[in-house]
């Protein structure tokens, strides 16, 4: 009896299936992402920027409005680490506070593009036919717009119409929201209007190809409704490339906002935005070039970080490179 039990155990031990590491798209992708040094560097920079933005009041040496006119255009040194601007405000602190503006614009743009764009694209691609035609025509028309010009037009509209303060009207409430955001609310609207187009196209293309796959047919055969198929099958397969697309689009939103602030149509002073810092420093460039170059470097580093991260994500999520 014991011999048989021992043999049975030996048999089970020898023919046992060895443990395999769990294979999961996200774990795989994360592992590959970590191997990519540039992507890791980009990710670290993004995290540092997030910390700078959230904890700005504790990290920045001075508040961004604190200006000492005596220290007008101070050189970089002990007191002002990167120098001071024309009103004696510390440049480093203003750059750190500016991180808030740029990152919030990037995040809001990304979230808008993701939510509106992906949903629009999935619905359009999944249903196909006439619905797809109509929805994509709308996207094509919006694609024909020179986006920069449209955003500038909208910003001028917002800044002049909603500068009223008579309480109670719709315009006044909107302008109160805007002031609460530090002048960012209308920029969010402006960028959101054009951000979702790219995502919509990508999502629609993928949905069109995904709906021909067998698992969709199987899901339909087992009685899933269209909505369930879209949510449970199509959407999860889209998320990878959409995340990549959104990460790579964030530098575009940041540049838009910086340019709007550069021409004066962005945040209201004294809220510092890197674009506004560059435009102020630009006027003093002949004598104090550091005022324009340091914010520019901050802008470039941020955009580089997102580009590295997006590239790394794209390579990591690529199923062909396994």
């Amino acid at each position: 009896m014991e011999v048989k039990i021992k043999e049975k155990e030996k048999f089970e031990n020898e023919t046992a299936i060895p443990e395999r590491p769990e294979v999961n798209l996200w774990k795989d992708a994360f592992r590959r992402l970590l191997k990519n040094k540039m992507a890791v560097l980009g990710g670290i920079i993004v995290i540092v920027l997030l910390i700078l933005a959230i904890f700005a009041p504790y990290i920045a040496p001075y508040h961004f409005t604190k200006g000492n006119l005596v220290d007008n255009y101070a050189k970089p040194g002990q007191k002002y680490l990167l120098g001071a601007d024309f009103m004696g405000r510390d440049l480093l602190s203003r750059i750190i506070y500016g991180t808030r503006i740029s990152l919030s614009v990037g995040i809001v743009g990304a979230v808008t593009a993701f939510i509106i764009g992906v949903l629009y694209g999935v619905v359009s691609g999944y249903y196909g036919g006439k619905i797809d035609n109509v929805m994509m025509r709308f996207v094509d028309i919006m694609y024909g717009f020179p986006t920069l010009l449209l955003i500038i037009l909208m910003m001028v509209l917002f800044k002049s119409t909603f500068a009223v303060t008579t309480p109670g009207t719709f315009a006044a409430t909107l302008s109160a929201i805007d002031r609460a955001f530090g002048g960012l609310f209308f920029i969010f609207i402006g960028i959101g209007v054009t951000a979702w187009l790219g995502m919509a196209r990508i999502a629609r293309g993928m949905a069109l190809s995904l709906r021909e796959k067998e698992f969709v047919e199987a899901a339909r055969a087992t009685g899933n409704s269209n909505l369930q198929i879209m949510l449970k099958h199509i959407l999860p397969n889209l998320i990878g490339p959409c995340i990549v697309g959104v990460t790579l689009a964030i530098p575009g939103y940041i540049t838009f906002e910086a340019f709007l602030s550069f021409i004066g149509l962005g945040v209201n002073p004294p809220t510092p935005s890197w674009g506004m810092l560059i435009s102020e420093g630009y006027q003093a460039m002949r004598s104090y070039p550091h005022l324009a170059i340091y914010p520019g470097l901050a802008l470039a580093i941020t955009m580089m970080a997102f580009n590295f991260l997006g590239d790394g994500l794209r390579d990591a999520l690529d199923p062909r490179m396994k």
Binding site: I141, G144, L149, I152, V156, S160, I278, A300, F308
Partner: protein, 305 residues
């Protein structure tokens, strides 16, 4: 294929109509008129001016009048520069923007395509990594950083290039480079990816085994096929460069259409705003159309049904 071309051309018309409608509405919703001055003009003068320019007509009539004139090529007068019509303004400023766009495109092609090719031919070598890092930098550094940096370095420190403005060829170097470097980076990555694919094709192997020299294989067989996706990108890139020259024009004080667009919005100069917007939209649509049409001509494997 002719059907496809005709359909695409016909689609451009409603797109332009909608863009003109949206721009017209947005421009007229902005409070303030073109005749507001610091010291307000007497009411009768403003009424006279508005009657002269047709601004007292109902909005829909203004819009349809505008469209009718636009179809005949007349984009209306300019409210702020009283001696010029919108046509004059566009004729004066647009060539500058177009020149800048073309120069930037040339910079992008001359810098980007060879870099991409060399990277692909010597894959994973030092040159490859260096060029691709350069390309990543070029895509990431925005014009607003690069412009002042270049101005500071070349004009203020080394004094070999003029600071800003437009006219001589020295003044054109920095703006064209600032605008074009992003495009160069994009083209370099695209050329490299496409070249890598083409090099592995069977017909390249056939050519090599037939004894064709490596140079001929690269130039005559690989390059032509590798450039197909590049050509499809150049059309929209040109449109993006011309319409995106706004930023560079602002930094280098170049008297182009973009800069004028911003000033005319501030001055509530509706016809100029509409005219420039329609012009830019037209360029974007034409560039995309051109690419779609020539793509099927270049690559016989593609046939649009």
């Amino acid at each position: 294929m002719i059907n496809y071309i005709i359909r695409r051309v016909l689609w451009a018309i409603p797109v332009l109509l909608i863009i003109s409608l949206v721009t017209f509405s947005l421009a007229h919703v902005i409070p303030g008129g073109p005749f507001d001055r610091e010291k307000p003009l007497p009411k009768e003068i403003i009424a006279n001016l508005e009657a002269y320019y047709g601004l007292d007509d109902p909005l829909w009539k203004q819009y349809t009048d505008y469209l009718w004139n636009a179809l005949h090529g007349d984009f209306g007068p300019s409210y702020s520069s009283r001696s010029r019509t919108v046509n004059d303004i566009i004729n004066a400023h647009f060539p500058v923007s177009a020149q800048l766009g073309v120069l930037a495109l040339i910079v992008a092609m001359v810098v980007g395509i060879p870099l991409g090719m060399v990277s692909a031919l010597k894959q994973n070598s030092f040159i490859d990594y260096f060029c691709m890092f350069f390309a990543l930098l070029g895509v990431s550094v925005p014009a607003m950083t690069l412009g002042p940096l270049l101005i500071w370095f070349f004009a203020l420190t080394l004094h070999i290039l003029p600071v800003a403005r437009w006219g001589t060829w020295q003044q054109a170097i920095m703006p064209a480079f600032t605008l074009g470097i992003g495009g160069a980076a994009l083209l370099a990555r695209l050329t490299r990816a496409s070249m890598l694919q083409v090099i592995r094709e069977d017909y390249i192997r056939t050519a090599r085994s037939k004894g064709v020299s490596e140079k001929n294989v690269t130039v005559h067989h690989a390059l032509k096929n590798a450039l197909i996706p590049v050509v499809t990108v150049i059309g929209p890139m040109f449109a993006a460069l011309v319409t995106g020259s706004l930023i560079v024009e602002q930094i280098f004080a170049i008297p182009g259409c973009g800069k004028y667009f911003i000033t005319s919005i501030t001055n509530r100069d509706y016809p100029v705003v509409l005219g420039i917007m329609l012009l830019y939209a037209f360029i974007i649509i034409i560039a995309n159309l051109f690419v779609d049409i020539t793509y099927s001509w270049i690559d016989p494997r593609i046939r649009y049904t």
